[in-house]
């Protein structure tokens, strides 16, 4: 009955594991993927090279990769921020939609008159505020009534989706383009509200992506150096110790959930300001940015800087997938490869906290 190996909790987690395990996981995925590719008659080396090239190496590829990575970085940081406190906010999806609604509102409202710089800053702030307010409902329910935040945040994703549909398809709202008769769509924002892009080493980098990097640095400082970060760490480590020193746990839960929602909200604002330039009710709901963000957070081990790196990797993988797909390469196979990489990465995660031990040696020790 006994399995030959068992998991044993590591007393200490050596630092080198933090990079060794992801690398080994990735290699494992590539090996398993190679078997699948060989079985379907493809040359694995050739396929892997194409993924690398289309996702990361060629100049155009990086531009696309960063574009795909931007919302994932935000939703990844959103999930990570809440998870760090043990609040499982999976509502990044809905908080992103609501952030987009807020940014689009501001863009439409003051976009024609206010100075460009102010308009863009207010769009970002509006995205944050809308996302934060939407998420804080979850935080308040959790801290005041001990409601399960997994369920409430998930449900609120559907509500946010319905709000989007209502604003564009089912009403004559401020966000809807009155000229779109046949197929309703969002009212386009003035050209001057479009967020800038910067040329860095021949790659165009969006303002949104730079915001994501800035947010990651701010978060990192909060976790490492701030009182709030210290308190978050204590609450996550031992709620009783937090009570013992008088940390306001309930307040912190609301604040962190709001912060988490604000991050997803900027992601939504960036979708409006950087890319769509109108409230794209369909497009926002197409990509599952919020749910993928949960994967990003897990792979990044809840580290905000890690979330940027993982988002870029996933972004590249997604874009490479699009370009691989074709008559000779079914989309199912693309999905299989992407799934394998995620699967081994998550599976490898457990080895940072636990180690494998053979049961044969220890059986004797127990009997003795």
């Amino acid at each position: 009955m006994k399995s030959p190996v068992r998991l044993e909790r590591r007393l200490e987690q050596p630092r080198w594991l933090n990079w060794a395990i992801p690398v080994i996981s990735l290699l494992g995925a590539l090996v398993v993927g190679a078997v699948v590719l060989l079985a379907t008659g493809k040359n694995p080396l050739d396929v892997y090279w194409r993924i690398l090239d289309r996702g990361f190496l060629s100049q155009r590829a990086i531009t696309g990769t960063l574009r795909t990575a931007t919302p994932l970085a935000f939703t990844g940081m959103c999930a990570a921020a809440a998870f760090r406190l043990g609040v499982i906010n999976i509502g990044g999806e809905g908080q992103l939609y609501v952030g987009a609604v807020g940014a689009a509102l501001v863009g439409l409202w003051i976009g024609g008159s206010a100075p460009v710089g102010i308009t863009i800053i207010v769009m970002v702030l509006a995205g944050m505020l809308f996302g934060a307010m939407y998420a804080s409902i979850v935080g308040i329910l959790r801290s005041q009534f001990n409601t399960n935040e997994i369920i409430t945040s998930l449900m609120m994703n559907y509500i946010a989706g319905i709000i989007l549909n209502y604003l564009i398809f089912n009403s004559r709202s401020y966000w809807r383009d009155p000229r779109s008769i046949g197929f309703p769509s969002g009212k386009p924002l003035e050209k001057r509200t479009h967020w800038p892009t910067y040329e860095i080493f021949g790659t165009s980098v969006s303002f949104g992506f730079l915001l994501a990097v800035a947010a990651a640095i701010v978060l990192w400082v909060i976790y490492k150096r701030s009182r709030l970060g210290f308190e978050i760490g204590i609450i996550a480590d031992s709620p009783r110790a937090a009570r013992y020193v008088g940390i306001r746990t309930k307040w912190t839960i609301v604040a962190v959930t709001a912060m988490s929602g604000a991050l997803a909200g900027i992601g939504g604002a960036s979708q409006v300001g950087d890319f769509a330039h109108y409230l794209d009710a369909k497009g926002l709901q197409l990509n599952n940015f919020g749910y993928t963000g949960i994967v990003v957070a897990a792979l990044a081990r809840l580290n905000p800087l890690g979330a940027i790196v993982v988002a870029v990797l996933l972004g590249g993988l997604t874009n490479a997938g699009y370009s691989l797909q074709g008559p000779d390469f079914p989309s199912g196979l693309v999905g299989t490869l992407q799934g394998l990489i995620l699967f081994t990465a998550v599976a490898g995660e457990i080895l940072t906290k636990y180690r494998l031990r053979s049961n044969r040696n220890t059986a004797k020790a127990v009997a003795a």
Partner: protein, 508 residues
């Protein structure tokens, strides 16, 4: 007369740093109610866990009905006829009584015949006079009824020896009476009951014979009709041990009151009243010992003073200034230091480093943070100083405290608490689980603090500790302070009786 049901001989069980059972001999006859009496930490639970197959003894033998047995798991003990009713119930709340009874029983068929199960459970309940509806869901039942379900579970499995771990701790007096009746009905049928308790009165009223454990050893076995609560108290706490009173530079008799509680009430985590009108004062430089068996409100008393728990009535004051009710930060700012019972998970954040834990009480002060940002380098220097001053053995201040030994964990905690320059220290079982050297250090620190004018409320189950450190002793029983006396006049027997619920007059 009767034949032996269980005989345990020379049982030794060691845990890292502690010998929980040190050559225990224990024999129970068929058809008797046999009480296992002892203070917390005397080794009662370890012994019963060995008997039910949860632990393996390091040495010694167990005989069941005269033949030697060795249990690899609780299931094999249950198969042999030994069942345990735990203090904390293991029931599935949304399931019915009958479902819980058959749960985990290997004889339960894949398809459950609900009708006949309910019938059999009802019949069993009736036979032993236990009023409980087999179709009721567990969450609908009172605690006393839930306990009956636990008993039914082991009876249904055919247990001939039942072990009850402090069964009355959760019961009202009427429920306890009903339980005793049930136990009698079971022994009348030839079943054997082992009744674990530290309450003298109920042991006297329910048992046939009593075995007393102290510090992991058997003190003796006596027939209930030949003994008295006084004798049992003496056996339980030990009368012969000599102890020396700590040397105090400034024996604490001061008229300055630093901590005063007036008619304080509060509830426990389950909302039941845990403190009933507690009045106590601690003077400057005075050590007041709170004696009592664990679970009589000591934890709530400590928490209510430290602001971790809201009082439901009364007044708590530091140097005559009332403290904001239920605000830990206010208590800390008011000068209350607190060494909680559960050091590693309440007093400290175990996964955090030594330096973070040293800063836990003062990270918000201007010394350690500005504009919401922490001054990490000063946090490190502060920790370095304290580690040096309190002789904490740690590789560096970045080491998580959970990797330190028990004695060093307590040193980290004490170092931090004393570094806040407290007026009052509430210390709950500050030496429990520590080795002799660490115990010595901790006691020296407490005495030193008292000499420097800190008023100390020392909550402990260890009478020796209280009698050697305290200037004044109060006894807690069921959420009330039942006695308040100078330490010099108190005797162990008297304290033992008071802790077991005797009145002050009766204890004299």
């Amino acid at each position: 007369m009767a034949e032996s049901a269980v005989r345990m001989t020379g049982v030794v069980k060691r845990f890292p740093g502690v010998v929980a059972n040190d050559g225990v001999n224990f024999e129970v006859m068929k058809g008797e109610v046999h009480a296992l009496l002892g203070e917390n930490g005397a080794g009662k639970s370890t012994l019963s866990n060995i008997l039910t197959g949860l632990y393996r003894p390091d040495e010694g033998t167990i005989e069941l009905d005269g033949s030697t047995v060795s249990f690899g798991s609780p299931r094999s003990a249950l198969d042999a006829g030994i069942g345990m009713v735990h203090q904390h119930f293991r029931l599935v709340e949304p399931f019915t009584v009958a479902e819980n009874v058959i749960l985990g029983n290997p004889e339960t068929p894949f398809v459950i015949d609900t009708g006949s199960t309910v019938e059999r459970v009802a019949e069993l309940a009736k036979r032993y006079d236990m009023a409980v509806d087999p179709n009721a869901k567990i969450w609908q039942l009172s605690v006393g009824e839930q306990q009956r379900v636990e008993i039914l579970k082991v009876l249904y499995r055919g247990a001939r020896v039942l072990i009850l771990d402090e069964p009355t701790a959760v019961l009202t007096p009427i429920e306890a009476e009903a339980l005793f009746k049930t136990l009698r009905a079971m022994t009348a049928e030839g079943r054997t009951v082992i009744f674990i308790s530290h309450k003298l009165d109920e042991v006297m009223s329910v048992s046939d014979r009593i075995t007393v454990l102290r510090s992991g050893r058997t003190v003796g076995t006596v027939a209930t009709k030949d003994t008295s609560t006084r004798e049992l108290a003496g056996m339980m706490v030990g009368r012969s041990v000599e102890f020396s009173r700590a040397v105090r530079r400034n024996p604490g008799v001061s008229s300055d009151v630093v901590l005063s509680l007036t008619d304080v009430n509060c509830n426990d985590d389950r909302g039941r009243q845990a403190l009933h009108g507690v009045n106590v004062t601690v003077g400057r430089g005075e050590i007041v010992g709170v004696a009592g068996v664990a679970g009589n409100g000591q934890r709530e008393l400590a928490e209510v003073i430290a602001g971790m728990r809201s009082s439901t009535g009364g007044r708590i004051a530091i140097e005559d200034k009332p403290v904001l009710n239920g605000r830990a930060r206010a208590a800390i700012a008011g000068g209350v230091a607190h060494v909680p019972e559960d050091r590693l998970h309440t007093g400290l954040a175990a996964g955090h480093s030594v330096e973070d834990n040293m800063a836990l009480k003062n990270y918000r002060t201007p010394l350690l943070s500005r504009f919401g940002l922490l001054k990490r380098n000063i946090i490190t220097t502060q920790a370095d100083d304290l580690v040096m001053k309190y002789d904490v053995k740690t590789p560096d201040t970045g080491t998580p405290v959970r990797l330190l030994s028990g004695g060093n964990v307590q040193k980290v905690l004490l170092a931090r608490e004393f570094s806040t320059n407290p007026k009052v220290l509430v210390a709950a079982s500050p030496t429990r689980g520590l080795d002799v050297g660490a115990i010595e250090t901790v006691r020296e620190r407490l005495v030193e603090a008292a000499d420097n004018g800190v008023g100390i409320l020392l909550i402990s189950e260890d009478l020796e500790e209280i009698m050697s450190l305290a200037d004044r002793i109060v006894v807690m029983y069921e959420g009330r302070l039942v006695a308040d006396m100078p330490a010099t006049g108190a005797t162990r027997e008297q304290l033992g009786l008071l802790m077991g619920g005797a009145t002050l007059e009766a204890s004299r």
